[in-house]
């Protein structure tokens, strides 16, 4: 990593030769990365950016795969429970509906947003952003949607939901006959693809691609 204390050198450099750590505000020379490399802040260890090879194509493939899995993951049964001849099923969607029907509409809304709404919105934002880069059109929308994506990031909770499924399975095993459904497999695949996508779609590269050829992006 470059020496950050040579402040006189830094002062004379143009902005695009510099980078500042997002988390601790340390200013330094922007390192040149080879494909597959990543740069960390020397002071606080925060990842500044990574350089993913063939980012656009790989990310597009992953987004499309995730969107295809979205419907079966949310609407196919995850768990089936049998008790004295009666069978009930649980899908991600039916959990939201059941909560809503039980009178806690606010909680139903939170569960809907964290497990279905925001994950879908995130994927759609990512898809449109990648397409605007791919087709080289509508960059202003791309910038706006990518900003929205960054605000949504924290609130999609597929992995927490998955842990919730596991805990529920343990709680239910002693109660009645339990079977897992095809929805669970789709849900796990969706979760894994989403994590993979988050690693592949390097924000720094996306912002660079979105701002290429634009000198000023004011409203």
């Amino acid at each position: 990593m470059h020496d950050s204390s040579r402040s006189h050198d830094l002062r004379e450099l143009p902005l695009d030769k510099l980078v500042a750590c997002h988390e601790c505000d340390l200013l330094m020379l922007k390192p040149e990365l080879a494909p597959g490399e990543r740069a960390e802040c020397p002071r606080c260890g925060f990842e500044l950016f990574s350089n993913q090879p063939r980012m656009l194509g790989r990310s597009l493939a992953l987004v499309i795969a995730a969107l295809l899995l979205y419907v079966p993951a949310n609407f196919l049964p995850i768990l089936q429970l049998r008790l004295l001849g009666q069978t009930t099923e649980d899908t991600v969607w039916s959990a939201v509906v059941a909560l809503y029907a039980s009178g806690l509409q606010g909680i139903a809304g939170v569960v809907f947003l964290c497990s279905m709404g925001i994950p879908l919105l995130k994927l759609l934002c990512q898809l449109v952003v990648l397409l605007t880069i791919y087709w080289d059109a509508g960059r202003a929308y791309g910038l706006l949607l990518y900003r929205i994506y960054h605000h949504l990031r924290e609130w999609g909770m597929l992995e927490v939901y998955f842990m919730g499924i596991l805990v529920s399975i343990v709680k239910l095993v002693s109660l009645a006959d339990l079977a897992v459904g095809a929805g669970l497999a789709c849900f796990i695949c969706l979760l894994l693809i989403q994590v993979w996508l988050e690693i592949t779609m390097s924000p720094h590269q996306v912002w660079e691609a979105l701002s290429r050829g634009r000198t000023h992006a004011s409203h």
């Binding site: 899908t91 959990a95 909680i107 924290e154 239910l172 002693s174």
Partner: protein
């Protein structure tokens, strides 16, 4: 050398560097993405305190009120968060009980105390080192969402345990308080500006 010392503002959204323009103070927009840029989040400490206090107040009903009731054959007892964990221990699934205990009791408590400590140590220059503080902040930020676990478990149980009078799970008001605590502490972590952690250690670093 901090970016702020050179009159450079980092965009909070796309991390583009912007030269600070003196004339449009407070209203400067990022040259790349158009987000509002500030040297530090405005009123970061005050907002974080407000969200944290709201969370701390709701923390009480979240733990005392029942979060769900399991009824079988018409009979059933309401469960609080803690009694749900104890039930899991009695069922013999200790690892799962541990996961639920950590996610629903330890993590929310740790977050309330941890964010308060961060705020105090930034405001009063207390002896936590910047490294310790940033590690704590990252941990709080990362772990925040996992507390939602219990809410998802309730949602799944309500949907799947639905056999009329034979067996039924109903959610209770404690769940609302608990979900609010999780959301408020997540928001508190978001409004806290981690750059403040390094600001009041800057002078120490310069002498090294």
């Amino acid at each position: 050398m901090r970016a702020i010392d050179m009159g450079i503002l980092v965009c909070p959204e796309c991390h583009q560097l912007n030269r600070h323009e003196k004339d449009c103070d407070g209203q400067q927009l990022c040259i790349r993405c158009g987000a509002r840029v500030h040297a530090r989040h405005p009123n970061s400490l005050r907002r974080t305190w407000a969200l944290l206090l709201a969370a701390a107040i709701l923390y009480i009903p979240a733990n005392l009120l029942p979060i769900m009731t399991v009824r079988s054959l018409g009979k059933g007892e309401p469960d609080t968060i803690m009694s749900g964990v104890i039930a899991l221990v009695h069922m013999g699934s200790l690892p799962v009980a541990l996961v639920v205990f950590v996610a629903s009791i330890l993590v929310p408590t740790f977050k309330l105390v941890g964010i308060a400590l961060l705020l105090l140590s930034v405001q009063r220059h207390q002896p936590l080192s910047a490294r310790q503080r940033i590690l704590m902040f990252r941990f709080i930020e990362w772990i925040g969402r996992w507390s939602m676990l219990d809410i998802f478990v309730i949602a799944i149980l309500v949907a799947v345990v639905n056999f009329g009078t034979l067996a039924k799970v109903e959610p209770n008001l404690g769940a609302v308080a608990f979900a609010s605590v999780v959301i408020l502490t997540m928001l508190a972590a978001l409004t806290f500006d981690p750059r403040l952690i390094w600001d009041n250690t800057e002078s120490d670093d310069d002498h090294e």
